[in-house]
Amino acid sequence: MGQTIIEKILSNKSGKKVGTGDIVVAAVDFVMGQDGTSPLAINAYRAMEGQKLFDPSRVALVIDHSSPSPLEGVSNLHTLMRDFSRETGCKMYDIGDGVCHQLMLESGNIGPGSLVVGADSHTCTYGALNAFSTGVGSTDLAGALISGKMWFKVPETIKFVCHGTLPSGVYSKDLILFLIGQVTADGATYLSAEYTGEAIGALSIEARFTISNMAIEMGAKAGLMEADEKTFDWVKRYGGSGFTAVSADPDAVYAKVLEYDVSGLEPQLAKPHRVDNVAPLSELAGRPIQEAVIGTCTNGRLEDLRIAAGMLKGRRVSPDVRFIIAPASRDIYVQAMREGVLETLVLAGGAVVTPGCGPCVGTHNGVPSDGETVISTANRNFKGRMGNRNAEIYLASPATVVASAITGQITDPREFVSR
């Protein structure tokens, strides 16, 4: 019987052929923790009487969620991480380096066939590089830090086949929001997702990251794609090598196969307060917004900033809108600076914050006030997510966010974009 991508990776990493429902203990290639989860993982490591890391060169800690620290409590937790990194010899990414997931994608350590665990739910992002990567909690992470292994139940897979071509002004973010709306927030719980079809193949690797990033918003354990030339180009650019593509067998068995033609898709938004509360833009156009955010591990990449700058050249955002930009990594920040992208955004009225999570999770950097509406490129719009339960959050593509920032109300980007 044929195997899905995740069955193959888990077979390779556990040293025997496995199938759906099997419990496996598999070797992990890389382990990552961020500042919201690592302190508890360090506690758990001590509770487990951990003596040393399985391999310090395969472990990274990242300060990105509250970065730079806004509070003394946070500062102390950051110091705990720095001390742990010194003690164990693992890699430490500190303030200004960027969002953990972007840093992992840029590390060269992760590529086709890799198995990665991260103490952050959006670790599934690396699925776009044909890696099985998934989010775990702090105690599981500590187990991986010590043993270099993790236990998994081999999941069934739901396959999304996307045909056609995305129209101009419609992006991978619109596509994944649409798919989440179709299957709902728990439509893929305990399942792996595979995204395939010519519409996926046509996307840049950065646009693919956006799709795999949000696999968790349908409850999935992984959001996998096949590897192609773009995948290997990306890995090579960051010095990675020695990876082998893992493809699903033609006779692999799926829990479900869902096929869509994306050619007629219009821009999509997730409405408050659920990511699967999705509507096409035409139903929402005209709603006033007060804050617009470009950034996060979903859409803070160079391609996203370029789209924003392209639309804002010679324009300004509405005086009634606060426009916040958080580049996803130092590398992206520098590139955007060199290309003049940041200059355009800042002259248009934007405020650039430290590379990292920015205002995504409500710790600082743009907490909305009571009764305000935010439009953001992030992946979650739960009540209180950005630090105020009395604010509303809409999720959209960078183009939709920028179009809305210009007019001060939810606006179709196709009025501004020509591709």
Partner: protein, 173 residues
């Protein structure tokens, strides 16, 4: 393990941001402090309504969203003895077992807010004393049971130094 208490009921898709908001979880590792803010964005006075031993009862997909382990810990430290839900998100489910918070999959439509319950984990059964009915519990997967019986994953590692999960027992899951 048998628990007795009253039901606090919530709906479907309760995410980890609702269980414990990001703005608190970054501040401290003091779980007693975090516990005071449990479910605050849905019910501002929730913490003060809890009597030790009570149950958190919810619908589908409980614990979706982030991987924060502060979520099961905040529930535990708030004095709640278990979470009863129709289904759980996978990271939350693992985190709960790893940190020793019992999570019980069952038909929660048979429980109303304030109902008095006893939950017998060993026997796998819930008695709804208020309504005089018995509710069946979906058994925990053997691998989870093994970790729970070892006293959580940290205790498991103290004992074995690695993931020592009996494959044979887990076949047929």
């Amino acid at each position: 393990m048998e628990f007795k208490g009253h039901a606090h009921k919530f709906g479907d898709d309760i995410n980890t941001d609702y269980i414990i908001s990001g703005k608190y979880k970054f501040k401290t590792l003091d779980m007693n402090e975090l516990a005071k803010h449990v479910m605050e964005d849905l019910d501002q006075d929730f913490y003060s309504k809890i009597t030790a031993g009570d149950f958190l009862v919810a619908g589908r997909n409980f614990g979706c969203g982030s991987s924060r382990e502060q979520a099961p810990l905040a529930i535990k430290y708030a004095g709640l003895s278990a979470v009863l839900a129709k289904s759980f998100a996978r990271i939350f489910y693992r985190n709960a077992i790893n940190t020793g918070l019992p999570v019980v999959e069952c038909d929660t439509d048979q429980i109303e807010p304030g109902d008095e319950l006893t939950v017998d984990l060993a026997a796998g059964v819930i008695h709804n004393m208020t309504r005089g009915i018995t509710i069946a519990v979906k058994p925990l997967p053997p691998v989870m049971l093994q970790i729970l019986n070892d006293g959580g994953l940290a205790a498991h590692f103290r004992k074995y130094g690695e993931f020592k999960l009996d494959q044979e027992e887990n076949d047929g899951l």
